[in-house]
């Protein structure tokens, strides 16, 4: 099936530093999402993005978080500065329309020390 690629699969970073998580969504998809999962627990919605804009964000999407997809390249999640509680697995997802199957990447495990 369609593949969403996430780079890197693991990232270890010191608290306070900046990190960028990269997502290569399915090629013809128009809607992009980030989700956060802590320790194999429930997946929590962070943000969705369409037509170059954030459409909706949750309360987990702190001011230190930002997303962009410059010129159709990677869809990125940037955290600046990072905090210990940002340690989690971050999943990117994409869909063609806003009302059909979401396809998820395999996640980036972020560890903040």
């Amino acid at each position: 099936g369609p593949k969403v690629l996430q780079i890197p699969s693991h990232q270890i970073i010191d608290m306070g530093q900046m990190v960028t998580l990269n997502c290569d969504p399915v090629s013809n998809h128009l809607y992009f999402y980030w989700y956060k999962q802590i320790l194999g627990q429930q997946m929590e919605f962070l943000v969705n993005f369409y037509n170059g804009k954030v459409m909706e964000k949750s309360k987990l999407f702190k001011d230190q978080f930002s997303v962009e997809r410059p010129d159709g390249s990677y869809f990125t999640l940037k955290i600046q500065p990072t905090a210990l509680e940002d340690s989690a697995v971050y999943f990117c997802a994409s869909s063609f329309s806003g009302a059909e199957t979401l396809y998820f990447g395999s996640g980036t495990r972020l560890t903040v020390l």
Binding site: Q41, Q42, E44, F45, G98, T101, S106, G107
Partner: protein, 113 residues
């Protein structure tokens, strides 16, 4: 409160047997997706339903939006079916702003020889 209530939280099956997972929704949902999260953490799409029943191999899923629940039936369980199964539902009202999935807590399925 939680909008997606998933049960059971854990399930143990012997190979060749079957069971059902269930998600109840506390608000009307537009569609539901089911995922298997494997040992590497990847989310595998199983089903997307806006209504009715779908079947794929040994898996069958039903979504009853009127009665606010969805089920996932597994028959003839195999060792490779082990993993965590998540339901995730879309609430009404998102439309062109993109579907935001609300996840259940997951069911940890263990299939034993």
């Amino acid at each position: 409160g939680d909008q997606v209530e998933q049960s059971p939280s854990a399930l143990s099956l012997h190979e060749g047997t079957g069971s059902a997972l269930r998600c109840n929704f506390t608000t009307t949902m537009r569609a539901v997706q089911w995922f298997q999260q494997n040992s590497r953490g990847s989310l595998i799409n199983l089903f997307y339903l806006a209504s009715g029943t779908k079947e794929n191999g040994r898996l069958k899923s039903t979504f009853n939006s009127k009665e606010s629940y969805s089920t996932l039936h597994i028959r003839d369980a195999q060792l490779e079916d082990s993993g965590t199964y998540f339901c995730a539902a879309e609430a009404w009202g998102y439309g062109s702003s993109g579907n935001k999935l609300i996840f259940g807590i997951g069911t940890l399925l263990s299939v034993k020889p």
